[in-house]
Amino acid sequence: MENETMNITSAMLQATMMPDEEPTSIKATIDGIEMSVPMDPLNRHYKEILRQTEANTLVIQEETP
């Protein structure tokens, strides 16, 4: 019974405010709420985004300019 349910309907890289800086967070809609999720391997939301991406049930969109 380890798994929690997390309904992620969208994920998009967030551009930083600094030029030439790689994105460090993802804008994601999780359980109907828009969140800014850091790309930290310890963050539970980021781990779930990666899991769903690897399972081909979610695609991380490129950042919009």
Partner: protein, 354 residues
């Protein structure tokens, strides 16, 4: 009869026994002087004057549900947090029209109880807490005991427990999966020996254990059930529950979740005419870089006194001791690298839960 134990150093009286080595004394007994026992001493009766019972440390956080940063009453449409650190199954999983958690203080005892209510549930319910591995260091291969109070309305009055442990890859094994032992007085307990799957102990800031408590066995959730005074401790005996102070418990919870409230002010610098970057310093160091809302209503102030209100878009960078957040969307309120401040117009939670 009057006699001596072992090396004849201590005078005692005893009804019917001679004691040497590992010993037990039958009947009512008294020892006039000091008593030294080199082996085991078993006492089946009471000790007078009463020997103080030592209460072990509790590994669970918010074990009596006193910290409720997300609100006093939570409706769980999906599995989600109720009291801090405790997740509750939602109606999308267990069916029916209600899954609601709240807390209530028992008027007779003062005990704070978690109350979970369901309506027409068709599946089982549960609450659970993940335990961070850092809080289990040194405890592997040791016995651990979970104890808690439980009662329900419309159920069997019998809970069910699962205890899981995790390895370094996030895989888990089941350490306990059964009805716990009744201690009487609506109190229940079970004991396991802690081990990680294949001996692979997880990294300190990852999941180490999961403690799940189900109401009504694993049958459909009852209309209402309560849990109180949960305790996970080292050893095979459930020792008395003693709550930590509220402030101490709040700080423990804030490693995983904090709320910066309305009117909180952050100092920062302009990143452009429409953005201000600030350092959000958590009250205690977070377990991981937290998830934050994508939008928060906020007001920006410039050093010249101009202001701008907006539903600001937040972008964060990766830190745990200080979260570097850029608030964007203001109306030409500040200039590059000039000092500015942000005042929140709504709560801003930061979430670093397991």
């Amino acid at each position: 009869m009057v006699g001596y134990i072992g090396p004849k150093a201590i005078q005692y009286n005893v009804d019917n026994s001679v004691v040497e080595g590992d010993s037990s004394i039958g009947g009512d007994s008294s020892v006039g002087g000091n008593l030294t026992v080199d082996g085991n001493l078993q006492v089946n009766g009471s000790i007078s004057p009463p020997y103080p019972t030592v209460a072990n440390a509790n590994i669970l956080i918010n074990p009596s549900f006193t910290v409720n940063q997300r609100g006093d009453v939570i409706d769980h449409n999906t599995e989600s947090y109720g009291p801090d650190r405790w997740r509750v199954r939602g109606i999308s999983q267990l069916g029916g029209t209600m899954s609601q958690s709240s807390t209530v203080v028992d008027p007779a005892t003062g005990i704070n109880k978690l109350v979970v209510k369901h309506r027409n549930a068709t599946s089982f319910s549960y609450i659970y807490q993940f335990i961070e591995a850092v809080n289990l260091q040194g405890l592997y291969s040791k016995e651990m005991t979970l104890s808690f109070g439980y009662e329900d309305t419309g159920g069997s009055g019998i809970p069910f427990v699962q205890l899981l442990s995790f390895d370094s890859s996030g895989n888990y094994q089941t350490l306990y999966d059964a009805v716990p032992t009744s201690l009487g007085g609506n109190r229940w307990a079970c004991t396991i020996t802690l081990s990680a799957p294949n001996g692979n102990i997880p990294v300190p800031s990852e999941k180490g254990m999961q403690v799940l408590i189900y109401p009504n066995g694993t049958n459909a959730a009852p209309a209402e059930w309560s849990v109180w005074e949960t305790k996970l401790e080292v050893g095979s005996v459930a020792t008395p529950f003693i709550a930590r102070s509220y402030g101490e418990e709040l700080l423990l919870c804030q490693r995983y979740y904090q709320v910066f409230g309305i009117d909180h002010v952050f100092a920062g610098r302009g990143g452009s005419t429409t953005t201000i970057a600030v350092s959000v310093i958590p009250f205690v160091e977070l377990r991981a870089t937290p998830t934050i809302p994508f939008n928060v209503n906020a007001r920006a102030y410039s050093i010249s006194g101009s202001t701008s209100d907006t539903n600001s878009t937040l972008t964060l960078a990766r830190y745990t001791s200080a979260i570097y957040v850029t608030f964007a969307g203001f109306n030409s309120v500040i200039t590059d690298n000039r000092v500015g401040t942000i005042q929140l117009a709504q709560n801003m939670p930061v979430d670093a839960e397991l």
